[in-house]
């Protein structure tokens, strides 16, 4: 779907964006964040759920944020349960039993993960926007704790025929814990073409 040159440019763009996001996460948590090299690829939307389910728990925590502009779509930060619990514990300075997950999180935990998603998604997409000179406007972040299929079904954006997912997978290390997170950017054909055109002209 992408040429080798485009894939190289996308990888570099993602590396820069993820470094920005990791910096934000480190600043928020007070811990050094080790980041594995992110793996990025574009898939038809129908494949995204299946790929996410291969390495995430059945139930996940996702923060989604619709964005609009020359390139529009829906961006999601998808975390497995362990990552969400550990991150909220660190940010709230609390201690939950990581295995005791009911899906009924206190409002404070939900708010903190929503704000974290907002910051990380903005760090990534904002860097995309700055480097590719494409301005996007964000809507309110939305937190969902659900199974992957339900979350992916809810990514529709009014007026947009979303067809592809730019899926970025990375593991990050925080406080001796290996946390798994995905960033998924869902785009329509037109927006994907514009993103690829941006990669072609990125210098």
């Amino acid at each position: 779907m992408l040429t080798e040159t485009q894939h190289d440019a996308l990888t570099e763009l993602i590396n820069i964006s993820y470094a920005r996001a990791a910096g934000a996460l480190s600043q928020l948590t007070g811990y050094r964040v080790g980041l594995e090299v992110p793996h990025a690829a574009v898939y038809p939307l129908s494949e995204v759920s299946a790929r996410l389910k291969r390495s995430l728990d059945a139930q996940v925590t996702a923060v989604s944020q619709v964005f609009s502009g020359v390139v529009s779509g829906n961006a999601l930060l998808v975390l497995d349960q362990k990552a969400a619990v550990i991150l909220s514990d660190i940010l709230l300075d609390t201690s939950s039993a990581s295995g005791d997950w009911s899906g009924e999180w206190p409002e404070e935990n939900r708010e903190v993960i929503t704000e974290l998603g907002n910051i990380l998604l903005n760090a990534c997409l904002g860097t995309f926007g700055n480097l590719l000179k494409v301005h996007v406007t964000f809507s309110m972040p939305l937190l969902q704790i659900d199974v992957v299929d339900s979350i992916m079904r809810s990514t529709e954006v009014a007026g947009e025929n979303l067809s592809h997912g730019l899926m970025i997978q990375t593991k990050f290390h925080l406080r001796e814990a290996n946390l798994t997170g995905y960033l998924v950017i869902i785009l329509g054909v037109t927006s994907l073409d514009r993103l690829v055109a941006g990669l072609d002209t990125w210098q």
């Binding site: 934000a24 903190v112 907002n118 910051i119 903005n122 904002g126 700055n130 301005h135 964000f138 309110m140």
Partner: protein
Amino acid sequence: MSSILVVDDSRFARRNMRAALEELGHEVEEASNGADALARYSPDRHELVTLDLLMPDMDGGVVLTKLRERNPAVKVLVATADIQTITRRELEDLGVTAVINKPIARDDLKRVVSGVLEGAIVSC
């Protein structure tokens, strides 16, 4: 010491901002949405308003406009996760006093708040 109104729908963000500002010796009042901010804002009391952009019902841009209608000289520091250069330019065109990106670095906040309160227009 100055009195500062912190406007953000995220309790977590408000708590972080409050802690940082109180550490700098300021007095903080919180508002959890735009309507709450407009109800609480007092030109006689608040020397600075810190304002989130993405909020339900009334976004930060609308709150900014309404605050300026009440007090054209209001000092507003926008605290946003949006790091885009164009967003910052748009905010400057709207007349915000300064912009700072989330997550807030306390050293940056100290510099920006001091600059704003002393009358300098700074951006971080």
